[in-house]
Symmetry: C2
Subunit: 435 residues, 2 copies
């Protein structure tokens, strides 16, 4: 196994620069000695790295307020709020959105628009998105921020080249390379250099958002092994193992929506029968809940239809409550298979599904517990100590607090990873394929 | 992310030693310049590493035969056939086995014995196994080999401490630490230092054997992303991603046998209903094939009962043929879920299942194709080029050539990994937990 960047002096320096920047981003403000202690280098070893990051405008140094302790006041390092910004974009079935975050993780610009993207060709959709991107880029420039990368969330399968949408059934797109339609749209006025572009499945970005942001604001971070499930027009899932997305050989992993639940059930567009989407996908739940296509169409936009379902369920609409209960049962059966295969620490319900948790969760958890349980010969230890604290009874089920914001925030943070991985050379390759 | 061993001089030296040893093991005999070229170091950089490995007895040097080419004859490096040996052991429901392989991958010793282990306490089983181990160790000593590690394959779930069997239903073991019963059994006579010991699920070792050995002897190696399925008393699977086992949070990943297939089906010992084992596990298939428990009991030993099924099916026994067809259907449904979640390059049928492939495979492949297919909106690209060559239609299904030998060979090779990862310090920690 070769270390990233190899064992060359340059590779080692790059990794150490990344360690310093990530440490200050995660734990700053920090003094120089505190940075050195956290990454296990000497103060003398850290000093030139810090100086380089200061010169590049990625770190800033400020006088530390005296805290009443002994010793002279020193200086503290924080990441810059005027350096690079990650730009995330989202192409939904009936909306577009763009947001930008700085190295401190703050959202610095955000726009959204309704858009009838269902079965629209990529060209017009990307032109509208480019206009939104241009607005956000101009806003960033006015605040002294420069775009460092663009990540676009799409409701579909993305090839491992990371720019080609292989299949997005709800948009009607097949084998559509988004790079030509987006390259240049975020370049500085009159400039020609394009941003590094990555197109990514929205469920994957929702999971990354949960991984990176789930611990903020008093929430409990998901553990680094979890399955993240989101549902809107389709059902998507993402599998995170040791803090990394499991992508699959073609980049198509996480297709929970087409896991067979009742193998002799109704036919699915995918060619199979009784797939999870036939029971827990939004159209199936709306239908089972007695809502007409006209009622559904009157609620466009992200989360609007699931909001309608939640209101009806809260009002005691028996058909909707029953439909959500059945959806939870089907989700629990499909997730039981996933849990038996993957043994994650948690299952996280995200996206629009998070808002339906009160009605979906009881039947989901019942099936999951029954089908992954200890009783009578199951998978967790009997009388002995659990191999890991609190893990004796299989994974816990958690509800994401990011909800429908997950994919967009995940996209913006994903666009900053290039800077964090290689702080001084992050602008080089536009849409380079990922590993 | 930190490189293994960190960026210290010592860590770099250890990685380079490992690279040299693995390169010669995989591609030897090689000249010194050829080794340097393969690992991207200078000849001067490689020379001291080779010298250290020669002194440690891990490499040997011999005069190269003149091949009629220009230049003076040089010397060639190979791995030693008198150095360390990996010892693999297998605890089956009705047998025990031990084998040892040298750095060249040759089996240097092998013993097996029938044993009525079902519902026997660990103590007596481990005492018999220790006696077999002592015999193999003595045989190795006579040939100038020294045991470098012991890996034990068990039909059950193993905690991440890598010595505790959490649950092995067919043995009746729960939370049984095998280390006390095995420590010292392979120590040199009168010695006290124990070998590094690892206990591992047999399905995981079958998958590792496929990964490490599947490409030998003219066979096609499985790609580094695959799902390996084996079935004997239970059904086990192992998930390999990027050439690494996916272990799960508790080490319990790969429980394909308890993936729900028909959610309202017969109850399973695990507490669920309609699990795959209820349709494709050995007892279910024997029952569906009209074989009585007495007939089954008359065929003990690894692979004997599946051999019986194969002979009956080959003779045209309609009940057995139908039972295997139904087992294939259930396997196909469960694997369709796994493929949708994991997007592997291949599904490999291993263990005793390999011998039943002619009767199981057609219905298995039919379900898998139907439920992971392109048609009408599936997962692979439509008109455009496939994102990866030959991968357009989902994973291929392959049959392991290692068959029932996989777990034992995998165990022996696993026991050598410590030497290959850290050639000069591999004997230090006995049964240290894995990562």
């Amino acid at each position: 196994m070769t270390a990233p960047g190899g064992d060359t002096q340059r590779g080692i320096r790059r990794r150490n620069l990344a360690r310093v920047l990530r440490t200050v981003a995660a734990h700053g403000p920090l003094s120089r000695p505190a940075v050195a202690a956290r990454i296990g280098l000497t103060r003398a070893g850290v000093a030139p790295l810090v100086d380089e990051l200061l010169r590049a405008g990625l770190l800033v140094e400020s006088a530390r307020a005296a805290t009443g302790g002994r010793g002279r006041p020193g200086s503290e390092l924080t990441v810059s709020d005027r350096g690079p910004a990650g730009i995330g974009a989202e192409i939904g079935v009936d909306h577009l959105a763009v947001c930008a975050v700085d190295l401190r993780g703050r959202v610095r610009a955000r726009v959204a628009a309704d858009a009838a993207n269902r079965h629209s060709a990529p060209g017009p959709v990307l032109r509208r998105l480019s206009a939104l991107l241009a607005g956000v880029t101009a806003q960033l420039a006015a605040e002294g921020l420069r775009p460092a990368g663009l990540t676009v969330a799409v409701p579909g399968l993305v090839a491992r080249d990371a720019t080609t949408v292989v299949h997005a059934p709800n948009l009607g797109w097949r084998t559509a390379d988004l790079a030509p339609g987006l390259t240049g749209s975020t370049a500085p006025e009159g400039g020609t250099s394009a941003l590094p572009l990555t197109v990514e499945n929205e469920a994957n970005l929702g999971a990354l958002a949960e991984l990176w942001l789930g611990g903020g604001a008093g929430r409990t971070a998901p553990p680094p092994d979890f399955v993240h499930v989101s549902a809107e027009a389709g059902i998507g899932a993402a599998v995170v193992v040791d803090g990394q997305l499991l992508r699959g050989a073609r980049g198509f992993a996480g297709e929970l929506g087409h896991v067979p639940v009742y193998p002799d059930g109704p036919p699915c567009d995918c060619g199979g029968r009784g797939c999870l989407e036939q029971y827990a996908g939004e159209p199936a739940v709306l239908r089972a809940g007695g809502l007409t296509p006209e009622q559904a169409a009157a609620h466009p936009g992200p989360g609007a239809r699931t909001g309608l379902l939640a209101r009806r369920a809260a009002d005691g609409d028996a058909a909707v409550v029953r439909a959500l209960h059945e959806a939870g049962t089907a989700l629990g059966i499909a997730l039981a298979g996933a849990v038996n295969l993957l043994d994650p620490q948690a299952v996280v319900l995200g996206g629009a599904l998070a808002g339906l948790a009160p009605w979906v969760l009881p039947s989901l958890e019942r099936e999951l517990t029954l089908r992954t349980a200890v009783a009578g010969g199951g998978r967790a230890p009997g009388n002995g100590p659990a191999p890991e604290e609190g893990s004796g009874d299989g994974p816990r089920v958690a509800v994401s607090q990011l909800g429908a914001d997950g994919p967009l925030l995940g996209a913006a943070h994903a666009a900053l990873q290039g800077v964090l991985d290689d702080p001084l050379h992050s602008r080089a390759p536009a849409h380079s394929p990922r590993n």
